[in-house]
Amino acid sequence: MPIWNTGEECLDVEERAQMQLERLQSTLNRAYKNVPYYRNRLQEKGIEPSQIEALVDLQQIPFTAREDFSDNYPYGLFAVPLRDVVRIHTAQGSALKPTVSGFTKPDLAVWREMVARALYASGVSKSDILQIDVDPGLINWGRAYKDGAEAIESSVIPLTILTPEKQLMLLRDYKTSVLITSHSAAKQMMHLVFRANLNPNELALKTVILVGEPPEVAIQERLKDELHVKTWVHYGLSEVPGPALAFECEARQGLHVSEDHFFPEVVDPATGRAVPEGEAGELVLTTLTTRAFPLVRYRTGDRVRLVPGTCPCGRSLSRIEWLPSRTDEMRVIRGVKVNHQQILYLIERTLGFLPPSHRFLIRSEDLRDFLEVWLKVDEALFSDEVKGMERLCLRLDRELTQELGVPVKIRLKEEGSFQSQPFSPLIEDLRQQFPG
């Protein structure tokens, strides 16, 4: 399989370590100089950027967490004047405020290059018709994938919010050969193909790129067997700054991290200390080239393991194995990250109060994953008009769907539903395992 940027992707390991150190130091110098948040954090610890003399010294620097994005809303973490920013992205935050990230023109070029290299490794070429179908919660990725695919000169069908049935119609009629989607949406698409009595051989589809969720082997096997496609996994960050910062190559031995732009660390989520090489832990990322929105030791919440050794594909970029489940309270629905605090806040905002009993479930119907919210009907919620209750459900449904970017169902339940068994205050995952 061809390599998009041999110079960077196959760079001599020692040469790369030098380059990473140079880039890390200049990133820290910029962050220290231009972002008060980072300067204060370092000063609290009595660290100056010049003390970071090796890549391992990075471990002295405090982590950046998702909460820091909302605390510095909107532009507090920008390292360049707004005049230099050419794109501003809004993504879900963990708290009340969304996450705002910015891109300079060179930043966008870097993303274009990174996405292009990931797509190229998945065998995407200029003769492909590439369809992007991710949930609204991942809309920023839609843009990045469009840019990257255009760099390869594929024919791109950009992200358009359509029903799954319409997406399938496009897939069939436009002769899509590459589909970028989440595991959940791919699962559903496969279901629709068979429900519509479509012969998979009538489709031009040959490649499915799975994003947003850790790979589920069973789904990939089914996709391969039943739709006769190759599947590839890309890893990205939905909050900031984008998709495809790690990608699978034909050797299928983990995902190559674009280490020329991101420095990966794997830490023990409990202690924050680096895990021994090859052991599982939380992925922590530091940007090396980003100008507008540098991240220093950002805790992703994703569980990974660094794959030791060299890859037969020839790339010297180190590899991660993306493991299921997360190290934090976030849950991933159709590639979109959702957390219970956020749901609580949205309910309270919409209703004006928070019903005392509630349950949040991830369920699946016709292989379509969605979030189900149970609320206990009490005096405050009760209305003697059925219409009134329906209206309330609709309003909540609309608000949550819009804000979270995933499908939501509201269920009003009686007291008994909350008494039967102890349940988690967090989001419960009740999706049936996909039959292998």
Binding site: E15, Q18, M19, L21, E22, R23, Q25, S26, N29, R30, K33, P49, S50, Q51, I52, E53, Y75, V80, P81, L82, R83, D84, T104, K105, P106, A109, T289, R291
Partner: protein, 247 residues
């Protein structure tokens, strides 16, 4: 080829270079840009062994240059074209060139020195015309050419240049920089220090921006050329002016 890690240089108690890391790969032309007093020349002096007491690591072909004096470093293949040229003004052009090969004369490398004299005079034909003239009588551009030619006479593998465009008319700057491109094409590795950021980045492969003794930016020269921060540094405008009306 050249690898600098965490270099710190001091003038007394003042730290002029504060943990700088940079690298020059074989056959690359690297531009190091930055304002006056950013520490550019200090950095070059440390590499050339003209500055004692630096800390950190300077590796040339994976060999540390720590403790080496200037002649030893020239012998290893690094030549400097210093800021302000520093020619031997009363001496002739030819003698200046011969002095560039001083270490080689001691090794009795006469024949190859003669060939190199020919080749630098081919590179700068004006030096042949002025060969017998005292260096001090040359124009600014000619003096710069002589300074470069003298550095080449040591047969370096890495050529360091400190502000070669300083005080020259734009067409002469062009001429000097074109020569550097020509040298690069012939296989020379070059580290170029310039205040004239635009001119330097136009011919460089990669660049580093030095500010207050620290690298604040690095990347492909074309990217830096398009960079707002570099434009600001180049134009000498400060953040506030760019911020106004926007933030």
């Amino acid at each position: 080829m050249l690898r600098v890690r965490n270099l710190k240089c001091y003038y007394g108690k003042i730290r002029a270079i504060n943990a700088v890391s940079l690298s020059v790969r074989p056959r690359e032309l690297i531009a190091l840009i930055g304002a006056n007093g950013a520490g550019k020349s200090t950095l070059l002096q440390a590499i050339c062994g003209l500055l004692p007491n630096w800390e950190g690591e300077i590796l040339f072909d994976k060999e540390s240059l720590q403790g080496f004096k200037a002649p030893a470093i020239v012998q290893r293949g690094i030549s400097l074209v210093p800021e302000g040229r520093l020619l031997f003004a009363p001496m002739t052009v030819l003698d200046n060139l011969r002095l560039g090969a001083y270490l080689r004369y001691r090794k009795r490398d006469h024949q190859r020195i003669g060939e190199d004299l020919e080749s630098v005079m081919e590179l700068f034909p004006v030096l042949r015309e002025r060969a017998g003239q005292p260096a001090g009588t040359l124009s600014g551009g000619e003096q710069q050419m002589l300074a470069i030619a003298r550095a080449l006479m040591a047969r370096p593998r890495l050529l360091l240049l400190d502000e070669p465009s300083m005080g020259l008319a734009p067409f002469l700057v062009r001429l000097i920089l074109d020569t550097l491109v020509q040298l690069k094409e012939q296989g020379m590795t070059i580290l170029l220090i310039e205040q004239n950021a635009r001119a330097a980045l136009q011919i460089a492969d990669r660049g580093y921006v030095l500010e207050n003794g620290q690298i604040v930016l690095d990347g492909a020269a074309a990217d830096l050329l398009a960079d707002q921060d570099v434009k600001r540094a180049y134009l000498g405008k400060d953040y506030r002016e760019f911020y106004e009306g926007r933030a």
